[in-house]
């Protein structure tokens, strides 16, 4: 009774197949002594009633009571402290006191039923969850706060179509807008990307596919430059380009500052993505006789495409949102300027910074509106990046998989037709 077990190796290149773990059938059958083993059988339950299936997820009544009770007790005690007993004020303070009290009461309640180990476990879990809630609450708060305060300005359509050229600080929101800043941001990031994409991707390819001692040195320097504070990148462009060549702030200088800041970030993340391309794909390509450039162009880059696009988009989001390099190089203006080589060209982050410096409520509302536009732009880029990512290198989407299957089926037909038409011994070159 010997059966042939085919175990397929778990391989990064075929994650779809179920993996038969080696070791589940470790002992060969013929090594076992020939003893009659009784078959495993389920005993007949007879008349014994089978109860409901036990739930292993979710909270028991005790757990739920402990959580809710501790929460209610802490909230009431904190309200009492803030309202009557102690001279405490402020929402943040109330939340902090409530949290501390909550942990205390929760420890007390759980320790009525459970031992020390279990109390520690429960409290630790509650602490982790509250860290997550606090963090995501802060994120949500920052986003929603910006969008709500910005919505008053966003309601006016002229906010997107006009510039601030004819709008004074006392004018209502129905006059003036930030079209010049939106255009400025788009022009600046376009120039920065025009430099960063070819240079960054080629450098990342150089680091991974060419290699050597020089490449390692370049990688070290690029890693070091990711630590460059963005304001220092702006200062560099200000001193080396604006003071020496242009003698005025302009959009091109701002693009260069964004490039200096963005380039190491993009190279580093693209480098990480290229490193994830499985080596056996490259070797297979070489084994089929492809040259180096064919391997890089036909195998490595298509395999890493989604990761590279994600790296670029996230780098773009960083570049758009960074204020300090632009602050030193781009210059503030209230008018539309589409020529990056002539005169100041404002961008979204700089416009926010400039607008909220004013004490006028209308200007601050415009600042928040601009921040909402910037935030929505970054969120859009992020969602695009997420939609494209989420796939490991070489993992195909459904449509790509169908296309690849169709192509290889066509190849099979072609090869079969070719083989039947010609002498099988005679090969094509």
């Amino acid at each position: 009774m010997s059966t042939v077990e085919t175990t397929r190796r778990a391989d990064a290149s075929d994650p779809v197949d179920d993996v038969v773990a080696p070791g589940t059938d470790a002992v060969p059958d013929d090594a076992l002594p020939d003893v009659a083993v009784p078959r495993t059988s389920i005993p007949d339950p007879g008349d014994t009633p089978i109860g409901d299936r036990r739930g292993v997820h979710g909270l028991t009544f005790d757990d739920a009571f402990n959580l809710v009770g501790a929460g209610a007790a802490a909230a009431s005690a904190a309200t009492l402290l803030f309202g009557w007993i102690a001279p405490l004020t402020g929402v943040v303070g109330w939340l902090a006191v409530t949290f501390v009290l909550f942990i205390g009461v929760y420890v007390l309640l759980t320790s009525l039923r459970a031992d020390r180990q279990e109390v520690a476990d429960r409290v630790a879990t509650v602490l982790f969850i509250s860290a997550g809630i606090l963090l995501l609450g802060a994120l949500l708060f920052v986003v929603v706060f910006t969008l709500i305060r910005g919505s008053t300005a966003l309601m006016h359509l002229n906010f997107f179509t006009q510039t601030m050229e004819k709008a004074g600080p006392l004018d209502p929101l129905s006059v003036g807008g930030v079209a010049h800043a939106i255009v400025g941001t788009l022009i600046q990031i376009a120039i920065a990307l025009a430099i960063t994409i070819p240079l960054g991707l080629l450098t990342a390819v150089f680091l991974n596919e060419v290699g050597g001692r020089f490449a390692r040195f370049v990688r070290t320097v690029v890693d070091a430059m990711t630590a460059l504070p963005s304001v220092v990148a702006g200062l560099f462009i200000y001193a080396a380009v604006i003071q020496v060549f242009t003698h005025e702030r302009n959009g091109f200088a701002a693009s260069l500052a964004i490039t200096v800041m963005m380039l190491p970030i993009v190279i580093r993340s693209a480098d990480v993505v290229l490193r994830l391309v499985p080596g056996n794909l490259r070797e297979a390509s070489y084994a089929l006789g492809a040259t180096h450039v064919q391997t890089v162009w036909g195998v490595v880059l298509p395999t890493a495409r989604s990761g590279l696009v994600t790296a670029l988009i996230l780098g773009t989001a960083r570049g758009i949102g960074e204020t300090s390099p632009v602050l030193l190089t781009s210059g503030v203006t209230a008018a539309m300027n589409v020529n990056p080589f002539d005169g100041p060209m404002i961008s979204l982050p700089l416009a926010i910074f400039d607008l909220v410096k004013s004490p006028e409520p209308a200007m601050i509302a415009r600042g928040f509106g601009t921040a909402a536009v910037l935030l929505l732009l970054v969120l859009g880029l992020f969602v695009t990046a997420r939609a494209l990512a989420g796939r490991a290198p070489g993992e195909l989407s459904r449509r790509q998989l169908a296309r690849a299957t169709a192509a290889s089926r066509r190849d099979l037909v072609r090869i079969a037709a070719h083989a039947s038409a010609t002498d099988p011994r005679e090969s094509r070159r």
Binding site: V260, V293, T323
Partner: protein, 342 residues
């Protein structure tokens, strides 16, 4: 078990043997390949050139100012390059104090969130939460700055006043004037290193969380299951398995966040009110940071003033560089699996 006998391996001298000679292994490189390599190498060289140009330019211009200031550059508090008395003592102290407050906020938050993501939640919720944390890293710093300035400042002042009232006997938390009389009005608590530190701390939590989470999820499954099999609770398992194995990730992630916190400009610049003196009282209004100094003074600077700012920027860059390299070394070492058994 019988021991297996192996014959000694002998190496034949290829020159003496009459058999086939080893083939010469050299590939003919096509023209396209040569072109590709030259292109890639020149891109690498161009990148290297840009990066080194930044570093060298910074160093050269900074040296003008450093020659004049000498070692007092690190000890002087004022910043007036016009009168040749300038130094980074105050701004560097401010940078560090803001970063320390930021770390006090971010370390518990990021360790807690990282453990939540790697140990507690599963499946769909986990991937959603991870995306949200990554999204937080993409929120522009000026948006955080706006939030800090227009919301958080007012909300935190009562807390700051409470801390200084009851813990004022600890010198760092005291808020006093030069005579040692305690301030009580709200104005003394605005624009402080404490508020800037909280905002910066929230900004660096995502990067710390993602590095720590990665390190925690690498803790070996065998040890985890061993801890559970011995009857440990989840917290017991985390304490004895996940945290020791993830120690490199905790330290490295914290330091990477620290580097970011020290380089942060715009959120700090919007919140603080700049002063050029060492202020030990983190809750008191008035602090400074190197990057805020650059953003504040670059416009009015003469050529010499600009090189003084370059020198300050260089000091900051060297500091963040040191922190980043140490951090990535620690992360890389913990990643190699050197601590894993079995």
């Amino acid at each position: 078990m019988t021991s297996i006998r192996t014959d000694t391996t002998t190496v034949l001298d290829p020159a003496a043997a009459d058999g086939p000679r080893p083939r010469a292994l050299s590939a003919r490189v096509s023209g396209a390949d040569v072109g590709f390599r030259v292109l890639a190498r020149s891109a690498g060289t161009a990148t290297l050139g840009i990066m080194l140009a930044v570093g060298l330019f910074l160093g050269l211009r900074a040296s003008d100012a450093l020659k004049v200031a000498g070692p007092s550059f690190l000890t002087t508090q004022e910043w007036s390059p016009e009168t040749q008395t300038f130094g980074v003592a105050a701004v560097l102290f401010g940078t560090v104090s803001i970063a320390v407050v930021a770390m006090c906020v971010s370390i518990p938050l990021s360790i807690g969130t990282a453990l939540l993501l790697s140990e507690v939640v599963r499946g769909r919720i986990r991937s959603t939460l991870i995306s949200l944390v990554d999204l937080m890293a993409a929120v522009p710093s000026i948006v955080f700055g706006l939030w800090g300035l227009f919301f958080l400042q007012a909300a935190v002042i009562p807390v700051a006043r409470w801390i200084s009232t009851y813990f004022g006997w600890i010198p760092v938390f005291a808020v006093t004037d030069t005579q040692g009389v305690a301030y009580t009005d709200d104005g003394a608590f605005t624009s402080s290193a404490f508020i800037a530190g909280i905002v910066v701390g929230l900004m660096v939590v995502p990067i710390q969380t993602s590095i720590m989470r990665e390190a925690f999820s690498r803790a070996p499954a065998g040890e985890r299951e061993g801890a559970f099999a011995l009857g440990g609770t989840r917290w017991g398992m985390i304490r004895t398995v996940v945290l020791p194995f993830g120690r490199g990730g905790i330290i490295g992630g914290t330091m990477l966040g620290l580097g970011r916190a020290m380089g942060e400009t715009i959120a700090v610049y919007m919140i603080i009110s700049p002063i050029f003196a060492i202020n030990w009282q983190v809750l008191k209004s008035g602090t400074n940071s190197v990057s805020a100094l650059i953003a504040l003074r670059y416009g009015e600077a003469s050529q010499f003033g600009l090189s003084a700012l370059m020198a300050a920027g260089l000091v900051l860059f060297l500091l963040t560089l040191l922190i980043n390299f140490t951090a990535s070394m620690i992360v890389a070492r913990s990643r190699s699996g050197a601590g894993t058994e079995g």
